[in-house]
Every structure is written in structure tokens, then in C-alpha cells.
């Protein structure tokens, strides 16, 4: 409730500044322009960031509960693929429906069957992959983006990509849910101590299912946008979003064990990761060095963060 900036967010912002500075230095030297801090470049990064941002927003909901959703990649892809296959407005709704359905299944597996989310969602991911192989192989489905997808994913108004607006709306809704509604409070409660939440008369199963449905719905929305951006849906389109979305949530200060974290941190984490990836790509670093720098930056940030925590404690 206070306006104090949390340490992880602060550290994240510092790192973002560092990345921008490094990138700018690089482009200044190589081509004499300060591309990295030019508005078009930054907007473009936000545009990419939106896909990751929407996915990570959903991921944060389940991480807050102390769970994780490894089915995000193929939930994203399946929503988009089924959506484009159906086509039109019906397709858009179907895509969201696929997201909700996957979330419901994940939620039931985790909350009712009480299979650890780590493994249940992994299985669901494999099943979704199988379903999409079946779909593509059997029916030569259409995969061109629907008009709504194109509108959301690739069009801009006054230079602002609509995806960024979607991300902002998703963020606003989730901030609302987390801070203002009982559901949000219950999510934190379950993340901290499920038994205590249950004994407080919280319908823990429903809350867990809801969180997983939000997560998958976010993945589906990201799928819609991404399909629009790429003009079509394709297999494996979500593969690039799993580990970065987890990393973004954790870099933003959400406890991977659940119960603690602020949404604004996730946004910072997403921007950080997108800019880092972009910088490494632009600097034409070898894949080997890119991976190593990526890993090292994450560790460095977390180390600084945990140092800070150790001192205040």
C-alpha cells in the first residue's frame, strides 16, 4: 500500500538503465546513433515485451500461489492455432475458450487431484503438443490471423502498438484483482499457508483453479496478439516464452515459493529481459556468449537483491 519502491524493483530499474547505457554506447560507437534510447526502438521493445509481459502476468498469478505453469508454451500456441483454424470472431472466442479450458484442467489437476503443478502442467503441455500435431496433421487448418488478432498484435494507433495497450489493460485488471478483491487476498494467503487459508473458510480449490485459469487466459491473449503480430499461428510459437516469463516474475521480486510479490516488479522484470535479449542480439554476440551473459545477469541481480535483503533483515 505504501509508495516505497521495493528493492527488487529498484535493482531492476538500475539494471534496465545499465542495459540501455551499454546498448547506446555500442550503437554510438558502431554507427554514431543513440538508437537504444530512441522512442521508436523503445516502443518496439515494448511491443515485443507485451507478449512476454502478458504471459508473465499470468505466470505470476500461479507463482504467487506457490505453483508454476509449464503448459504456457503450448497453451499459447494451441489457443492461437485453434483460434485461427476456426477463424473470424468465433475463432477469437474459441482461442480464449481454449485458454480457459486448459486453465480449468490445470486447476483441477493441481487443486482437486493435488498433483504438484510442476509435473501436472508439464503433462498438460505434452498433451497439448500432441493435440496440435493431430490437428495440423489431420486437417490442414487455416492459420492466418483473424482481423482481431491483427488489430491487437500488429496494428498501432498514434505509434503505440495495440499489444502494449492490451498489456496495460491486463496489468490494470490484475493489479485490481491482487490489491482490491478478496480473490487477490486469498491468492497471497494460499501462497503463504494453504492450510490456514482453508481453515479460514477460504475456498482454496476455487481460488487455485481461478489462478490457473487467469494464467492460461493470459497465455491465450498473448497467443492472440502474437498470432496477429506474426500474421498467423504456428506450432511452437510459445516455446520462447516459458523460461523468460518465469525469470521475469522472479526478477521482479515475486517469491518463487509463493505468497509474496508485487505486480509492478513483474513489469520491470519483463522489460529487463526483453531489453537484455535485444541488446545481446543487436550486439551480434555469439549464441554461446549470449547465453552466458543472460545467465550471469540474472544471477548478479538476484545476488544483489539477496544481499540487500540480508542487510535489512
Amino acid at each position: 500500500m505504501s509508495l516505497r519502491i521495493e528493492p527488487p524493483i529498484l535493482i531492476g530499474l538500475v539494471f534496465i538503465a545499465l542495459i540501455l547505457a551499454t546498448g547506446t554506447a555500442y550503437t554510438m560507437v558502431t554507427q554514431g546513433t543513440a538508437t537504444f534510447i530512441s522512442p521508436p526502438y523503445l516502443l518496439q521493445q515494448l511491443h515485443f515485451g507485451a507478449f512476454l509481459g502478458i504471459t508473465a502476468a499470468g505466470m505470476m498469478m500461479v507463482i504467487l500461489l506457490g505453483h508454476i505453469d509449464l503448459s504456457v508454451p503450448w497453451t499459447l500456441a494451441a489457443s492461437a492455432m485453434v483460434g485461427t483454424a476456426v477463424g473470424g470472431v468465433a475463432g477469437d472466442f474459441t482461442a480464449l475458450g481454449v485458454g480457459l479450458a486448459v486453465g480449468l484442467i490445470n486447476g483441477i489437476g493441481v487443486a482437486v487431484l493435488r498433483v504438484p503443478s510442476m509435473i501436472f502442467t508439464l503433462g498438460v503441455n505434452t498433451v497439448l503438443l500432441g493435440l496440435m500435431v493431430m490437428l495440423t496433421g489431420g486437417f490442414a487448418p487455416q492459420n492466418a490471423a483473424t482481423p482481431l488478432m491483427t488489430f491487437l498484435g500488429s496494428l498501432r494507433t498514434y505509434g503505440v502498438p495495440h499489444s502494449v495497450v492490451v498489456w496495460a489493460l491486463v496489468s490494470a485488471s490484475l493489479i485490481f484483482v491482487l490489491n482490491r478483491t478478496p480473490l487477490g487476498r486469498y491468492m497471497y494467503a494460499i501462497g503463504n499457508e494453504e492450510a490456514a487459508a482453508y481453515l479460514s473458510g477460504v475456498r482454496t480449490r476455487l481460488v487455485i483453479i481461478a489462478a490457473f485459469m487467469i494464467c492460461s487466459l493470459c497465455a491465450a491473449v498473448a497467443g492472440l496478439c502474437l498470432a496477429g503480430y506474426s500474421a498467423r499461428a504456428f506450432q511452437a510459437m510459445g516455446d520462447q516464452y516459458l523460461l523468460p516469463s518465469i525469470a521475469a516474475v522472479v526478477l521482479g521480486g515475486t517469491n518463487i515459493l509463493g505468497g509474496q510479490g508485487k505486480y509492478s516488479g513483474t513489469v520491470v522484470g519483463v522489460v529487463l529481459i526483453v531489453l537484455l535479449q535485444s541488446m545481446l542480439s543487436v550486439m551480434q554476440m555469439d549464441e554461446a556468449y549470449r547465453q552466458m551473459i543472460y545467465g550471469a545477469v540474472i544471477i548478479l541481480m538476484l545476488l544483489i537483491y539477496s544481499r540487500g535483503r540480508a542487510q535489512t533483515a
Binding site: M1, Y188, A189, E193, A196, L199, G201, V202
Partner: protein, 514 residues
């Protein structure tokens, strides 16, 4: 201070000028403390007085902000419990330090297992050792191979004591180590402690049960608000004086007066033929509006399960439950707390079942009542803040910052938060599972008064406790459970210690003939 007579023998443990701050909280301020070999030294004080903090410093769990400590004349500082252990300091903490997934034997020899020639753990020797130690504390019934998590809390506490004995302590600290034990077990522990004293150990004993202190302690130190108030020999002060030292105010009449009753109260909760095989058998009871009904008996006779069954936690319960005369089916705590049922449960273990430790005091107070504090989909923040303020005032919860994690409160205040949480839901039927465990006399008194005033307002209270004094002092009627069934109902003057003890063992009591 009245320690002139004992100055002859040098202190084994000596602490000088010890202070400990947690942020702005002064848990301990400039404390001087000393304890001798061959004596049992009681540490007394209200909740939050700083007792646990003191022993955490002794046992290396936290480092003091200021001050020095010496052991046997040599300066000592411990960076971790491990280092303190190495120096012969063994502590049984308020929260047990046992590993639920390991076997009892593993737990007992966790740091110093017997080894074979290869340096590997000799499991057979370890098992024998566990058997010996368990026998020493009179718990031959515990199989050392059993996983700890399959034991009830009281047995776990005994395992913890066996584990501590196995470490050959020079200084043994018990921080409310007997809070969940039955009186039979407590007796065994006493005799062990006496034997240890004869062996020349230095023992620190923390408990809120005054009679325990009386029976055990040679010396007592009283703390209040993080300060050392006095140290004196056994018998130097009366109980009332000690309690006054602890709470710093006049103290009399622990239990509020019971109301006189002319007619039977209108029943709020009626249970008949409740079965939950194999633990609960054909239980029938009723609790009237304005009535406090106690549940007694030896530990583990189904009391806990009875409360859970009424609160919708158990599956496969048969029998009928009526609330205000209407039959209800309660399938979950969520159903139990609905306004038409208005049932609340103060659970056994406040740390894992009652509280969300890292969340704020405020959030903990309202977590159960949120459905009533919601407008549309949104939490009504001003109403919420208002209710929290009301509750904090009504329960006299000592809290600095309402947004601070509830974990930072002392045990008694945490328990008040749990009760406040349920009062906020407007519960009319209140189930309590040993709510005063580990709570100081001052706070206990507040809780008794609170229960009585709730009853006076028409609430029905079902109150399980291991403390006979509470059953006698607090309850209008007492139901004694034995092996999952109600063997005796005591009312009015029948509620005496002898009757309770006798019925708990399923023997006819003195009033039975009448």
C-alpha cells in the same frame, strides 16, 4: 535481588548487559542473567516479555545487539545452534525442531549418529540408541522406525525431549516444552529433570503453568517488557506476588464468575450420533446459547477430530448436526462460517493453521471475514480498516504497525489475532482447540473473560483444553472423551479435578455414586 545466599558457587551461564532489537522492537533491554549448575532455573514472564529471545541468544539462534555472555567463566559467542550444541548447550524450542519425514530414530540422532567402521551411519545402533532414550522418557510405545509425522504432537514433544537428552547437554533449556503434554507425561519429564539436576546440569525452564514452576524450579527469574525484573529462590515469593511481578499490575481472580442458570439454555449446536471411524464413536452433545462447554480427557481421545468434524474438515462423518434447531450439512470451513451456521474454529497450531505468518496483522485479522467486507467485487477498504481498529482495541492486541507481518508478534498476541479473525465473522458457535497453549497468565485471563462475555452475548462455545484448571474455572459443563466417545458429562459442582481425572481414565468419579 535476593541472591546473596547463592553467591558462593560461580554461575555456569552468565549474561551481562544483553540487549536485542528487532528493528524498532526492543525484545530485550540491558539484561543481566546468570544460572548455576545443579539447579533448575525458571524463566517467567508474560507473552512477549523476551524469554524466547533470551534463550535464542544463549543457543546461538540470534546474535544479541549488545552485551556479552560467558559459559563456565570463559567468554562465549555462538554463530549458530550448531556451535552452541558443541559447547554443550541444548535447547528444546517452543516450536519443535523435528523433521517430519525422517524416522524417530533419525530425528533423535540427527547430528551425532552412531557410525560404523566406514564412517557411515550405523542404523541398527541408532535404533537401539533411540529405543534407550525413548525408554528413559517413558515412551516405549514409540517405534523408532516410525516417521515422525505420523505421531501426535504430544508424542513429538517427548521425542524432542529424548533427542535433547541424547546430546548429553551441560546446559539444557526447555522453552514451553511441556505445553502439549498430558499430565502423565509431564510427571515423567519432571522426574527426568530432577535426575538431571542431581547429575549437576544447569537447566533453564520456561513455562506459563505456575504449578509446574512451583514443583520444579530452584530459582526463578522474572522478565517483563524485555527487562529482567528479579531473580529469587524458590519459596521467596508467593504465586500472586510472582504474577504481579510478571504482569506489573494487580492480579486476582483468574476466571470470571460463572452465571447462575435457572433453566437450560436454548441449544445452538446439537450433535447426535456423530461417527467418524475409527476415532469418533456415537457422539451426542449439545451446546446452548450462552454456554461454555468444555471438552476434557486424556490427549488424543478424539477431541481434536470432534472439533474438525464439526467444522467440516473431515470426510466421511456420519450422524446429524443441528444449528439453531435446523439440520445442516457442513462440508467445509467455508460452509461452516456461512451466516446461517456461523461456526468458527480456533485451531490447534496457530503457526500453520491459524495464521498467515508473512502477511500483515491487518490482513490476518480480516482474511476470514472478507466476504462481509466486500462491496461488489471489491474489498471495502475503509470498512476493513475500521473493523481492524475495532478488533485490535477490543482484543487489546499489542501491535506497533498493523502492516507488519503477524510473525513479528509474540505468541499471545498472535493467538489474539486468530480469535479476532473469527470474531469478525460474527461467529455464534465457537470451537476452540487449546487456545491458551503457550500463553501467559495475563493474556489467558483476558481470553477467559472474552469467552465469558461472548457467551453472555449469546454465543455457544465448545472449548477443548488440556488444562484442568481451565475446565474447572471456565466451563459451565464438561464432557469427558475417552476413546472417541463421551464417557461422562460433568456440570456445576461436579466439575472437580478428581472427577475429571477419574473420568478421563474411564473410572467412576466421586460424584458417580450419587
Amino acid at each position: 535481588m535476593e541472591d546473596g545466599a547463592m553467591a558462593a558457587e560461580p554461575a555456569y551461564l552468565e549474561m551481562r548487559g544483553i540487549s536485542k532489537n528487532y528493528g524498532g522492537v526492543h525484545a530485550l533491554t540491558d539484561v543481566d542473567f546468570a544460572a548455576r549448575r545443579g539447579s533448575i532455573h525458571a524463566v517467567l514472564g508474560e507473552n512477549g516479555a523476551g524469554k524466547s529471545t533470551l534463550i535464542k541468544i544463549v543457543s546461538g539462534v540470534v546474535a544479541p545487539t549488545r552485551g556479552t555472555m560467558s559459559l563456565d567463566g570463559a567468554p562465549a559467542t555462538f554463530g549458530s545452534p550448531l556451535e552452541a550444541n558443541a559447547a554443550g548447550i541444548v535447547c528444546i524450542f517452543q516450536e519443535l525442531s523435528l523433521m517430519p519425514d525422517l524416522s524417530v530414530a533419525d530425528n533423535i540422532s540427527i547430528t551425532d549418529p552412531p557410525r560404523n567402521r566406514l564412517g557411515l551411519i550405523d542404523t541398527r545402533a541408532q535404533r537401539r540408541r533411540a529405543e534407550e532414550l525413548l525408554a528413559r522418557v517413558g515412551c516405549e510405545d514409540i517405534d523408532p522406525r516410525e516417521r515422525l509425522k505420523n505421531l501426535p504432537l504430544s508424542r513429538r514433544q517427548m521425542v524432542e525431549i529424548a533427542k535433547a537428552l541424547g546430546r548429553n547437554p551441560k546446559l539444557l533449556i526447555l522453552d514451553e516444552a511441556t505445553s502439549a503434554l498430558t499430565s502423565a507425561d509431564v510427571k515423567k519429564v519432571y522426574s527426568i529433570l530432577h535426575a538431571l539436576r542431581e547429575e549437576g546440569l544447569c537447566l533453564l525452564y520456561i513455562s506459563h503453568r505456575m504449578h509446574e514452576i512451583e514443583e520444579l524450579a530452584d530459582t526463578a527469574s522474572v522478565f517483563r517488557n524485555g527487562r529482567h525484573i528479579a531473580t529469587f529462590a524458590k519459596g521467596a515469593h508467593s504465586d500472586d506476588e510472582i504474577v504481579q511481578m510478571m504482569i506489573g499490575r494487580d492480579w486476582s481472580n483468574v476466571f470470571p464468575k460463572k452465571p447462575e442458570r435457572t433453566a437450560a439454555p436454548e441449544p445452538a449446536l446439537e450433535v447426535s450420533n456423530l461417527n467418524w471411524a475409527p476415532t469418533l464413536k456415537r457422539l451426542s452433545l449439545s451446546v446452548g446459547k450462552g454456554e461454555i462447554v468444555g471438552i476434557g480427557g486424556l490427549d488424543g481421545q478424539g477431541q481434536r477430530e470432534l472439533l474438525l468434524a464439526l467444522f467440516g474438515v473431515l470426510r466421511g462423518v456420519s450422524g446429524s448436526i443441528k444449528v439453531n434447531g435446523a439440520p445442516v450439512a457442513i462440508g467445509s470451513p467455508a460452509a461452516a462460517k456461512r451466516p446461517e451456521n456461523a461456526i468458527a474454529l480456533i485451531p490447534e497450531d496457530r503457526k500453520t493453521e491459524g495464521l498467515l505468518l508473512p502477511m500483515s496483522v491487518a490482513e490476518n485479522i480480516t482474511i476470514a471475514a472478507l466476504p462481509w467486507l466486500t462491496k461488489g467485487l471489491v474489498i471495502d477498504r475503509s470498512a476493513e480498516a475500521e473493523k481492524i481498529r475495532e478488533m485490535v482495541a477490543r482484543m487489546q492486541i499489542k501491535v506497533g504497525d498493523l502492516d507488519a507481518p503477524v510473525a513479528t508478534l509474540s505468541g499471545g498476541n498472535q493467538q489474539k489475532v486468530v480469535i479476532a479473525k473469527w470474531l469478525l465473522t460474527g461467529a455464534r458457535i465457537i470451537l476452540l482447540n487449546d487456545p491458551t497453549r503457550g500463553i501467559d497468565v495475563g493474556t489467558k485471563q483476558e481470553i477467559y473473560q472474552l469467552l465469558r462475555s461472548l457467551a453472555a452475548e449469546g454465543a455457544a462455545i465448545l472449548f477443548y483444553t488440556t488444562d484442568y484448571d481451565e475446565l474447572i474455572g471456565c466451563c459451565d459443563r464438561v464432557l469427558i472423551l475417552y476413546d472417541g466417545a463421551i464417557v461422562r458429562e460433568l456440570a456445576g459442582t461436579e466439575i472437580t479435578e478428581t472427577n475429571i481425572v477419574a473420568s478421563s481414565l474411564n473410572l467412576p468419579g466421586e460424584g458417580a455414586a450419587a
